[in-house]
Symmetry: C2
Subunit: 201 residues, 2 copies
């Protein structure tokens, strides 16, 4: 490695810190950057700096934004009576891509995990309850993942909110994925799919 100029070595080292990028890939990327136009390289460098300077959590939903409020919180056409609770910003984006939901979001930035010392204060849980108390939300859709922690977090939210009148608390359905072959589906999922079976209507 010492055969490269020092500044190229620094770039390779910094690129290697990215997830899934080893030394070989970092070297390949560095050589590309070296051969690329000055504009392309400087645009890349600038966009990294701008992202770190501009992108922050939306004070409404704790999703990502580079404005005062994120596009979704700003959008007056969305149904402000519905609130979908997700673990991470990625989950919010996955639901958005499905086009199945037009309400607002709340990103917890984690799940309850007492084993790892993560309680309600470590994630945006108190912010969730404060928001529900303040606004006219009539349905809370809990879309945390179906992992053990995700389910526990969903139960916690349900328990905390169930005394409240005029709020419906729902959980996203779990079962066999569309296009899923039954023989490849795990037993727990199949059990859940049988339990939550519904009548043709």
């Amino acid at each position: 490695m010492s055969h490269y100029p020092q500044s190229l070595l620094t770039l390779i080292k910094n690129l290697s810190k990215l997830p899934g990028i080893g030394e070989k890939t970092a070297t390949r990327l560095s050589m590309h950057i070296l051969k690329a136009s000055k504009k392309e390289a400087f645009d890349l460098a600038a966009s990294i700096q701008i992202v770190k300077e501009k992108v922050r959590f939306c004070p409404g939903c704790f999703g990502l934004t580079d404005q005062e409020l994120c596009n979704i919180c700003q959008d007056s056409k969305r149904n402000s009576n519905q609130l979908c609770v997700v673990e991470q910003t990625d989950d919010m984006i996955s639901i958005e891509k499905s086009n199945a939901y037009s309400g607002l979001y709340h990103v917890l930035h984690g799940v309850l995990s007492p084993m790892n010392g993560i309680g309600p204060d470590e994630i945006k849980m108190n912010e969730l309850f404060a928001r529900i108390n303040k606004s006219g939300i009539s349905e809370v859709i809990v879309a945390t993942s179906t992992s053990v922690e995700g389910e526990a977090t969903a139960s916690y939210i349900f328990q905390e909110l169930q005394q409240k009148n005029n709020i419906t608390i729902t959980r996203i359905a779990s079962g066999v994925p569309i296009g899923g072959d039954l023989k490849f589906i795990d037993q727990l999922t199949l059990k859940r799919a049988m339990e939550r079976r519904y009548s043709f209507s």
Copy 2:
């Protein structure tokens, strides 16, 4: 994609331009940069800019350097009578890693390829001959690749230099790679290995 903030989208777009980085990987890298410390992200951005500003061709060997001359051309301990001709800077680094050579290099930055309009003027060929004429080089080792163009380039260098007295022109050996299983070696390589067989000494 429109669910991400604009500055994040710009970063994803710029990262996607790197070789082997698709939109999904670019998104994952962007999310990592977003979560990484400000120092880590700014160091990465700065190292991209520094590489573009500082790294250039060494005026001696046309390898990469961020100084006046590259480390190898600067090194007075190296054998300045030997000159190894390679296609690309990567080849030079591969040979350096092998620790099998202690002379100087000359990077052609390409191979002769008349089909693609690449003649001696398009690569650092004239610079090679000028350098050999000026300096006290006694051996030129042609280490271009064993592709058709690499072999043709090697022949060209041999023809141009063969009139010169007191210069030995050599070509790196080709044959069966060490650890290579004969049944996986192509016929041309095997033919070459048979032709260039040598006596045990």
